[in-house]
């Protein structure tokens, strides 16, 4: 399945990068099982290693994972009629890849039957492959020398995720404002600069988008 090709290397990288940033392999695996969201895991690991307080770590995770709320909102119309237990299960699998594949299919075939089974059929293998990949990465990463600087894979992954988004003025403004703010505010305690940068980025995005509209 081509989908798994996308998930496995990223899982591996996430596992390696987390351990390289200074958390134990056991904690990395536990986090993966509990959270199942690569970008937020990398972000949290980096903040924890830098000594950021709990509240800020959670706030960063909230920001990074806010997109799940949008996924959740757009999936609702397709899965709304299901019993609660199935919806709870499906919610646990909402992630970039399963969502992207499923929503494309659902949008093309709005009236298709067994949407739930399709979603689970995509989501469960991805979940399993991801967990195994992180496990492998974490175990492998602990044995790899720090000189390989694998923790740098985390910021690179973020670059890979964020740069392709920069396709309109609003997005570019948001990224630039956030980047400049976080660097200017780096001496604030508790890495509060991250919070300021996020707010500055959103504000800049909204402002410039409005002006063009």
């Amino acid at each position: 399945m081509p989908l798994l090709f996308g998930v496995v290397p990223f899982g591996l990288i996430t596992g390696v990068a987390m351990v390289a940033s200074g958390i134990s392999p056991l904690a990395a695996i536990a986090m993966s099982l509990a959270v199942f969201a690569g970008a937020s895991m990398l972000a949290a690991t980096q903040l924890l290693a830098g000594g950021a307080p709990l509240a800020l770590v959670l706030l960063a995770v909230l920001f990074v994972n806010l997109r799940f709320m949008m996924y959740s909102a757009s999936m609702r119309q397709h899965l709304a009629g299901l019993p609660l237990r199935w919806r709870l299960l499906a919610a646990g699998l909402v992630a970039d890849n399963p969502y992207a594949v499923s929503i494309a299919r659902f949008t093309e075939h709005p009236e298709m039957r067994g949407k739930l089974w399709y979603f689970l059929g995509v989501g469960l293998p991805v979940w399993l492959a991801w967990q195994l990949a992180v496990l492998a990465g974490a175990v492998l990463g602990a044995g790899l020398p720090a000189s390989w600087q694998l923790e740098f894979a985390a910021p690179l992954a973020f670059i890979a995720m964020s740069v392709p988004l920069l396709r309109d003025r609003g997005m570019i403004a948001a990224a630039l404002a956030a980047g400049v703010t976080v660097v200017l505010a780096h001496s604030l305690p508790l890495r509060l600069g991250l919070l300021l940068a996020a707010l500055a980025g959103i504000a800049a995005g909204l402002a410039l988008e409005r002006r063009t509209a």
Partner: protein
Amino acid sequence: MTLWLALIGMAVLTYALRASFLLLPENAQLPSLARRALRYVPAAVLTAIWAPELLLRDGALQLTLGNERLLAGAVAVVAAWRFRLTYLTIGVGMLVLHLLMAGNAAAAEAPRKVVAIEGVTEFRLDNGLRVLTVPDPGADTVTVHITYLVGSRHEGYGERGMAHLLEHMLFKGSARHPDLKREFAARGARWNGTTAYDRTNYFETMPASEANLDWALGMEADRMVNSFIARADLESEMTVVRNEFEMGENDPGAVLFQRTLQLAYAWHNYGHPIIGARSDIEKVPIARLQAFYRTWYQPDNALLIVAGRFDQARALELVQKYFGAIPRPPRALPALYTREPAQDGARAVTLRRSGEAPLVTALYRVPAGGDPDYPALDVLVSVLGNTPSGRLHRALVQKGLASYSWGAERALHDPGFASFGAGLPKGASVDAARDALLGALEGIGRHPVRAEEVRRAKTELLNDFDKAQRNTRSLVRALSEFAAIGDWRLFFLYRDRLRAVSVADVQRVAGAYFKPANRVLGVFLPTRHPDRAAIPPPPDLEQALAGYRGGEAPAAGEAFDPTPANIEARVIRRTLANGIRVALLPKKTRGQVVVARLLLHWGDEPSISGRVTACSLAGEMLARGTRRHSRAELSDAFERLNASVAVNGEGARLEVPAAQLADTLRLVAEAYREPAFPGDEFKELKRALLTDAEEQRSEPTAIAGLQLSRHLNPYPKGHPYYTETIDEDVEQLQAATVADAESCYRQLLGATGADFAAVGEFDPDELAGLLETLFGGWKNPRPFARVPARYFDNAPLEREFRTPDKANAVLRGGLNMPLRDDDPDFPAMVLANYLLGGSLSARIPQRVRETEGLSYSVHTSFRASAFYPVAAFRVSAIFAPGNKTRVELAIREELARALRDGFSAAEVEGGAKALIEARRLARRSDRALAARLADYLYKQRSFAWDAQLEQRIAALGAGEVNAALRRHLDPARLSVMSAGDFK
């Protein structure tokens, strides 16, 4: 803990986001602004996470080509933009990073290997940092330990406890590591910092991993120079440290130890507790902490130790990466130079505090830890203090005098100390325990150290070294301690020296250091209700003096120009009944004071010969009781009159407010005319004079002066001008009786022909009348005849007298000349002496004091008699005994040079001006004026003599001065006596 809390929080949060709309009613909608805002969240947040990773290094913006991550990230951004492929972006970024790192690593300096000893290797960085690697492949941990060579020894006044306070502050974080303690916890690190006299160290032991090593090295490099040391942190940490101080105050043993140390070190900082003074802990300004940090926390003052399981090459790369980035500081390390002088006698301290059981301790100062004798001392301390094999245990505990005993030494950078003690059962005899303790410690001469004692102690101490070397943690600690003593390699050298210690070595160090003069005894006496004197803090004087106006200002004196002409114009001279001559200079003086001088003249050569001591005692007895007043009453009466008075057989000096002059003179007359010679006063006087005489025996000043005088003026024994030896003086004093003194008084003393001079506010007629009343009837029983002085033409003599344990030595030299003060050469000789040694800028002081720095005081003098052709040139100097040869050579060379080359015309002209000015200044003093007036009465001179002398001096040319000097001063005739602790 934080990690797991974060994990749970993240899981709940993320799931809530995923489930949000799936669980909400179907019609729920996000507001449109929120939906639009949400669009920008990923771009903003993700950028905010990766941007600092590229742009910041060690908490600072780094936009240079040396920032490999920035360049690699930039390439990745381009790749992501162009190809939008996640793995390509990550792959390209990692590849570029490694290529750049490989390039930079090849260019970077690597730590230089310096030396390797028994598995410990030292490396040195360019900035001066010393690095030790202590690999232990079998360990499952890695330790990073950094020792700063700064401790309480380096603190200044007002900073006691600052080194330790700073240690606490270094755990308060930096911009890059704002919460160190949390980071330690996240890595499962065991960590701590400790402060001692000579060093402060910090260490963390973590599960062995390159990530942990990388983090710890980065963190230690960061806090070496980037710690906050913030005022707010000091305020909160100060109370923590103060409580640590309070903890120590509860322990009588710790306090007693501190008190003994404070006695042992009067100057060196080892006398101050490491924890510091309460006031300094509370008040030390943050700026002083910061300055201390910036001075001492630098790579060239630190030793980094990496120990445990780690890859050596990688560790050195990381050390270079993190520590190599710190520049070598521009400041030079301050040198400490305070040395404690040898203790000069046993010291003792008693501590009274609440507690239960008494303690007796003894502390001795010993050499520095790096001294070759130190290991023998270490053995000795074990021989004495070991429980149960040591001598103290046997002498105190086994005999039931004490419950326990101990001995301890502290190897330090500077000369340190060994301390011993015993804890007593409640109610036990402190005296018995003290005697037993000191007997054992200082009795090694009588009970020599035995071979089996030394063998046992050496085995014990060498086993400690062996254990330390087998346990990496102990080895690291030991290397840190020995580095603080001077060098980490000392650990190994010390062990080798310890192996070589012999019984004779131990015996020798016992004799050298464990003796009473080097001891500080400490006694703790438990006291339920300690009675202490509470000294109030200094008062607020500004408040006390607010609006203060004082009383009336004292009367101002008149502006009097002391030229000979002015003096002569004002002086009134008269001769009174009984041949008394008076010279009175009425003038306004500051505070309306009168200064007066009385000179008595009595006896002749036959009548004084052989009774100098008796007559001198007679003079001293005059003010010690009259028929009407006791000595105390006389003294109190003078005090009431606010009069300063000195009375003896030679005459009297007084200084008294004008209104009290008459009453004071009446009392002085009473002392002269009605002395009672009380027997007990005479005994007291004799005792005091005998003590003075005995004290002279070891005084270099007295010895040199007396010997020179005996040599240059060899009058026969018994002659009034004979100089007695100290033995003769003592003998004479012991033999003297009050009857002898009184008979001298009765047979010789009187005011016939006396001279009296006064300067100040008085009515001349009234004063003359009073003097006539008081002294006119006091006639000399035997006429006065001046004892002629003789000129002795002595052979030069040079002698040295040893005065042990006197740090200062004295030289007295001189020669006689057959010259009277009306000799035509007299003015030239006065000026020549002035140029040779009469002022600080004269030749001999200039050479000995200013150029060579050998002496605090060196000068010459020249005097000639007004009656007989007898003149004396004298030279005098003080100096450190070791400089004697140089001082004497310098004096002789300067004399020879003055005689050979002469004084220059400019020197003579300038000297004459300065000398005349100095003489004018001397006449400004009313006291000196009164003395001169009285002296001139005796010599039948007026101040015209001064005017004439000064005119002649002013007119002198260099030729006259040089010719006179050559005529009268033959340096080959100079006799020199020196006394001091010469080796």
